[in-house]
Symmetry: C2
Subunit: 341 residues, 2 copies
C-alpha cells in the first residue's frame, strides 16, 4: 500500500537506516552491505517510493534535463530532431524540455529565460533567424550545442550538414544534365543555412561558364516558396531546374510548377531539401538532398552527455553529410532531349 508521501526519510525509518544510506542505495554510490540494501529496497517497494528529481536538482544546483529550443515543432525536421535526441538520451536519466520560438528572437529569449529557471544540464538550440543571442547568453547555460543553424561569433559546438557541398553537387548534377538556367528558392537571408546553401548553388553555377543561376529569398514556408517559384517561372521562362530550400519550400515549388502549367520533370526539374513522406508519393517522386536529421540529433545528444560528464568537446563544426536521393523529378531539359531525338 503506497504511502501518501514517501521520501527518503520515511523509507529510511522503515528500513531502520539513515537517509544517507537510502540515498546510497538509490544512486549506487559508496558501499552498502547486501543486507542493508535489501532492507532499503523492501521499504522502497512497500511505500511505493519514487525519487523526487526536484530535491535532487536543488541540491545539485543542476537539473537532469536538456532544453531543446527550435523554431517550430510543427516542422517535421525539428520533430525528428527532438525524437532523435530523446532516443539518444534514453536511459541516461535526462529529460528533454522542448520549446518553440516561432523563429522570433524575442520569444527565443523569453523561452530561454523560462528554460534557464530550471537550471538544466544543457541546451540544444536551433537559433532563430535574426537571433540576438550572444556567447554570454549561452554561456549562462553551461553546456550548449547548436544544430543546423549556427550563430555568428558564438563558440559552441555546432552540428551541421554539408549544405554548401550538397547543394553544389545537386546543382552541378542539373547543369551536367544540360540545364543552363536554374534557380534556388532559398530561406530568409539572415539564416546561416540560407547563406551556406546559396553559396553552394552559386559556386556550382560559377563552375559552368554560360550557365545562369537565379536565387530568391523567401520566409521558408510553402506559400513563400510557391510565390517565389511562380514569379520566377513567369519572368524567366528559360529556368528548367529548381532547388528548394527545405521541404515546405519544395512543396511550394512543386505547386507553382504545376500552376504554371509546366510538366515535371519534362519541362522543369525539381530537387528538394530534407526528405518527406509525400516526396515518394508525388508523381513524379521528388529527388531530394536528404539531410541526416536522426544522426544530427543523436550526435547532439551524445555531445551533451559528454559535456555533462565533464569531458571536453571539440567545437567542430561537426559536419554530418547529406545524400542526394535521385527520384523521378529530375531529367534533362526538354530542349536537350528534343535535339537528341
Amino acid at each position: 500500500m503506497p504511502q501518501a508521501k514517501a521520501t527518503i526519510y520515511t523509507v529510511a525509518r522503515a528500513a531502520g537506516v539513515s537517509a544517507q544510506t537510502v540515498s546510497r542505495v538509490l544512486n549506487g554510490t559508496g558501499q552498502v552491505s547486501e543486507k542493508t540494501r535489501a532492507a532499503v529496497r523492501a521499504a522502497i517497494e512497500a511505500q511505493g517510493y519514487r525519487p523526487n528529481t526536484v530535491g535532487r536538482s536543488l541540491r545539485a544546483s543542476r537539473t537532469p534535463m536538456i532544453g531543446v529550443l527550435v523554431a517550430d515543432i510543427g516542422n517535421p525536421f525539428y520533430a525528428r530532431l527532438h525524437r532523435a535526441i530523446e532516443r539518444r538520451l534514453a536511459g541516461s536519466g535526462y529529460s528533454l524540455m522542448l520549446m518553440n520560438c516561432d523563429d522570433d528572437a524575442q520569444i527565443e529569449r523569453r523561452q530561454l529565460d523560462l528554460l534557464r529557471s530550471y537550471r538544466p544540464a544543457g541546451l540544444v538550440i536551433v537559433p532563430s533567424v535574426g537571433s540576438s543571442l550572444d556567447e554570454t547568453d549561452l554561456r549562462a547555460f553551461g553546456h550548449v550545442v547548436s544544430v543546423s543553424r549556427v550563430l555568428d561569433d558564438v563558440h559552441v559546438p555546432a552540428i551541421v550538414t554539408d549544405e554548401r557541398e550538397a547543394v553544389a553537387a545537386a546543382a552541378a548534377e542539373l547543369l551536367a544534365l544540360g540545364h543552363t538556367e536554374i534557380a534556388m528558392i532559398l530561406g530568409p537571408p539572415e539564416a546561416s543555412t540560407t547563406r551556406a546553401r546559396a553559396a553552394g548553388f552559386h559556386a556550382a553555377v560559377a563552375g559552368r561558364p554560360g550557365c545562369r543561376g537565379h536565387a530568391r529569398h523567401t520566409d521558408g514556408t510553402r506559400a513563400g516558396g510557391e510565390a517565389a517559384a511562380g514569379e520566377l517561372l513567369g519572368t524567366h521562362p528559360g529556368v528548367t531546374g529548381m532547388i528548394g530550400f527545405n521541404a515546405l519550400v519544395t512543396e511550394g515549388i512543386v505547386s507553382a510548377v504545376r500552376t504554371a502549367g509546366r510538366a515535371c520533370p519534362d519541362e522543369v526539374s525539381v530537387i528538394g531539401f530534407t526528405d518527406a513522406g509525400w516526396m515518394t508519393l508525388y508523381q513524379p517522386a521528388i529527388s531530394v538532398i536528404d539531410q541526416p536529421v536522426e544522426e544530427m540529433g543523436a550526435l547532439a545528444g551524445r555531445l551533451l552527455l559528454d559535456l555533462a560528464a565533464g569531458e571536453s568537446v571539440d567545437p567542430g563544426p561537426w559536419v554530418v553529410p547529406s545524400t542526394l536521393i535521385r527520384r523521378g523529378s529530375v531529367a534533362p531539359p526538354a530542349t536537350t532531349k528534343e535535339s537528341r531525338t
Copy 2:
C-alpha cells in the same frame, strides 16, 4: 555586471531588505511599498538575478510544468498538438515536458515515472495502444487530461473529436454518390480511436441496405495502410471508395491505389483523416476529415490551467467536431457515371 550566483538572498542584501520581501516583489503577493519595490527591482537588475524554479518547486511540492506524453512526435498530429498546448500556456509560467513512448505500454510507464519525478502540475496524455495505465497511475499525477484516445474505466477529463459521426458522414457521402462497396483502413484494434471510427463506418453502411463495407486493421503506418489497401483492392475489385484512419494510412491508400493501376477518383475515391500539407499538393487533392488539432490542444491547455487553479472540470468527454473537407479525390463510382452517360 551580473553576479556569479544571484539568489533572493544576495538581492535582499543589496536592496537592504529581507528575502521574504524579494519574494513578494517577484510574485506580486502581499503589500510592498513603492520605494522598497524599486530598490528590489534595481538590485535584481544589477545582479542579473533570475528566479530558480527548482527552489520554488521544491517548496511548493509542485513544478510549474505540464507533461505531454504521446506516441510519436514525428507524427504531425502530435507535433501540432504540442504546439497548440504550448501556445495556450504561453505566459502562464508553465512549461511543457514532451515525451514519446513509441506506442509501447512499457515505455509509457517508464516515461511517466521519469516525468513524475519532476512533480509536474499536470499531464496531457495520449494513451498508448494497449496502455496498462489505470486510474491509480494517473491519479498519482494530480491533474490529467487525455486527448484523442481514451482509457477504458479511467475517469479523467477527455478531449476527443466526433470520430464516429465524422466517419459516418464521410462514408454516407460515398454511399450517397452511388458507391456500393467501400472500405475503411483502420488503425490497431485496441485503440479507442479505431473502435470509434470503425463504428461510424459500419453504422453508415448498415444504413444503406445492399451496400457492403470492408474494414481492415493496420498498425497505423503508411506501410501498413498500403499493404491493407493493396490486398483489399486485389481481393475485392468491387471496392470503389476507401477511407483512411489517419494521414499516414491515407498515404498508404493513395500509393496502393496507384500501384494497383486504379485511377483516383475515377475508379477509387479516397478520403483521409487529419489534414496534411501533401493532401492539397497531390493530384487529385485528397478529401479529408479534418481533425481540429489546434482546438483540442488549446482546450487541453485550458482545462489543465483550470484544474491547476483548483477549479473543478467536467470530465466530458469534450467533443470538438471534425469537418469534412471536400477536394478532388471523391467522385461517383465509374459504373454509375457510365450508366448515366
